[in-house]
């Protein structure tokens, strides 16, 4: 991972969110308040603008700026959660480059931030249910010596599996939890956006 790749990743997320905005909002309409697509879109549009012309010295500086921008533009639950995660990831990457192993550590810090802020656990039907398996796959690949592209591909697949696996779950956190048993049978919108984030990472890394 380097600064250009990080920038490309964030831009790829913005593009993906733009394309899937309505889908994310529709998922949130079923078990939430119908704003997740709009929230993510507002956030990553702001990130794109915020990063224009910014030439950071480290990968971390770029990702911290992305995270800070998300916090100051998204609102909702996903703003602090994703914003905090990007900031946590960034804080671990105080250099112009990072190895897959270092990046795995940073991703782990991102998940910790989400868990700490939102107090959710795996199986609660949140973004964690996509993030945690994605991180595990990435880590495994990195440990096995894979390059970023291979690790990110595995992570993206795992995130999508995790995302799909949220459908039968009953929500215990976030707005969907208010529905009790009626949340079962719907895919979690935050897990869907997390899957987009990891797929964007994979596609960016592969394109490199």
């Amino acid at each position: 991972m380097d600064i250009d790749l990080a920038r490309a990743w964030v831009q790829a997320i913005a593009t993906a969110v733009d394309q899937h905005k309505d889908q994310l909002t529709q998922l949130d309409s079923a078990i939430g308040d119908a704003d997740h697509g709009v929230n993510m879109h507002r956030g990553f549009s702001a990130v794109t603008t915020a990063l224009e012309g910014v030439e950071p010295d480290t990968v971390g500086a770029l990702l911290v700026k992305a995270g800070t921008t998300l916090i100051s533009s998204v609102g909702g639950a996903s703003g602090p959660l994703y914003g905090g995660a990007f900031r946590a990831i960034g804080k671990m990457l105080d250099a112009p480059k990072a190895t897959p192993g270092e990046f795995a550590h940073a991703l782990a810090a991102g998940l910790d931030s989400i868990k700490k802020l939102g107090a959710a656990s795996p199986g609660d039907k949140t973004m964690i249910d996509a993030y945690a398996p994605a991180l595990a796959s990435f880590q495994q690949q990195a440990d096995a010596g894979a390059d970023l592209a291979a690790a990110a591909l595995a992570a993206a697949d795992a995130a999508e599996d995790g995302m799909r696996a949220t459908t039968p779950l009953q929500a215990r956190k976030g707005r969907a939890s208010y529905l009790g048993a009626r949340s079962v049978g719907h895919q979690d919108p935050g897990a869907a956006s997390t899957a987009l984030i990891f797929r964007a990472l994979a596609e960016t890394a592969v394109a490199r």
Binding site: A34, G75, A77, S177
Partner: protein, 332 residues
């Protein structure tokens, strides 16, 4: 989607300009999305700040004014405001005696206000946060997000606002806000879904003969779907849930709000209030004060929420204290 708007993405900005044009007593910072009193905060007065997603009008901007809020931070429709809004607002309204954040219990609101409180503390402000979580449709549990904050917000803002106006200190104002919340319970029923400008479609489909029981104020479906029933039975269901969680005894005083969710005719709210009054009268509970109208809405949702606060003498006296806001005004 049928709405009196210019464009979905312009709703909040246009509405805030409308609020600014309509209410000379309010100062609207349309750039930062912060509504404050034109008169500012009296030096030494504790400031009350609330906020949350838009679409619940008159909450919160309509409750800014003498005897109630000092600042409101409106987020996008059904989306928590961002920490920067609350920081800007807190800095604008701090009168040197600290700021109480009144936060409805939703993950987004809680996290964004929490970050704002941290930022404010870094800036040297004293902040106390009070969570409102009155909706008994959602059972409280340490494993969940907890109960939602709904109608009781109005009671908390009114009563704590009056205490702050009287010069009480930060701890006392926060304490009273917590007491009011702890004494209040709400339950809501929807006859139709609402449509957010951004999604353009109703959040759920209900047949002509169905209602959603135990809904929140963000267009989400309720706890269960039932056959539409007469007002008397709907009220019985709601009050059962409320009184089950917070029993009221003969001789108790209550402040009661029968609140329209946005598309409910006032004549129906009075029909509902009549049923509430009958149930409470049968229990020898006195409705000492009441509100009937649209106070905490959910865009164009048809439905009603009922909020009951078991009120002590302090709360009643503070309720009666002067208030002068766009949506609530008396004695001033």
């Amino acid at each position: 989607m049928k709405k009196l708007i210019n464009a979905p993405e312009a709703v909040l900005a246009d509405a805030l300009s409308g609020v600014a044009a309509a209410h000379s007593g309010l100062n609207v910072d349309t750039e930062n999305k912060v509504i404050t009193r034109t008169a500012g905060t009296r030096a030494g007065k504790v400031a009350l700040l609330s906020g949350g997603g838009s679409g619940h009008e008159p909450l919160h901007g309509g409750f800014v004014g003498l005897g109630m809020l000092d600042a409101a931070c409106p987020g996008e429709v059904f989306t928590s405001p961002v920490p920067g809004q609350m920081l800007t607002a807190a800095q604008a309204v701090d009168g040197g005696a600290g700021v109480v954040f009144i936060v409805k219990n939703y993950t987004g609101d809680v996290l964004n206000f929490q970050m704002a409180a941290e930022l404010a503390a870094e800036e040297g402000l004293s902040v106390e946060t009070v969570l409102v979580d009155d909706d008994v449709a959602v059972r409280d549990s340490t494993y969940t997000a907890g109960r939602r904050g709904t109608g009781a917000t109005v009671f908390v803002e009114k009563i704590a606002g009056a205490l702050a106006e009287q010069g009480a200190d930060l701890a006392a104002v926060a304490e009273m806000a917590k007491r009011v919340n702890a004494s209040s319970r709400s339950f809501a029923v929807a006859l139709t879904a609402c449509t957010t400008p951004a999604s353009g479609k109703p959040g759920f489909d209900l047949s002509e003969h169905e209602m959603e029981v135990g809904v929140g104020i963000h267009g989400e479906p309720g706890r269960r779907r039932e056959k539409l029933r007469p007002a008397k039975e709907i009220v019985a269901t709601a009050l059962d849930a409320i009184l089950d969680d917070q029993p009221l005894a003969a001789g108790d005083d209550a402040i009661v709000m029968v609140n329209g969710l946005g598309a409910t005719p006032l004549i129906e709210l009075y029909v509902v209030f009549n049923e509430v009054a009958q149930v409470l009268a049968a229990k020898n509970v006195t409705i000492a004060r009441s509100l009937v109208g649209n106070y905490v809405t959910s865009l164009d949702m048809a439905g009603v929420s009922i909020t009951v606060c078991k009120a002590d003498a302090d709360m009643l006296a503070l309720w009666d204290a002067p208030v002068n806001t766009p949506a609530l005004r008396w004695g001033a």
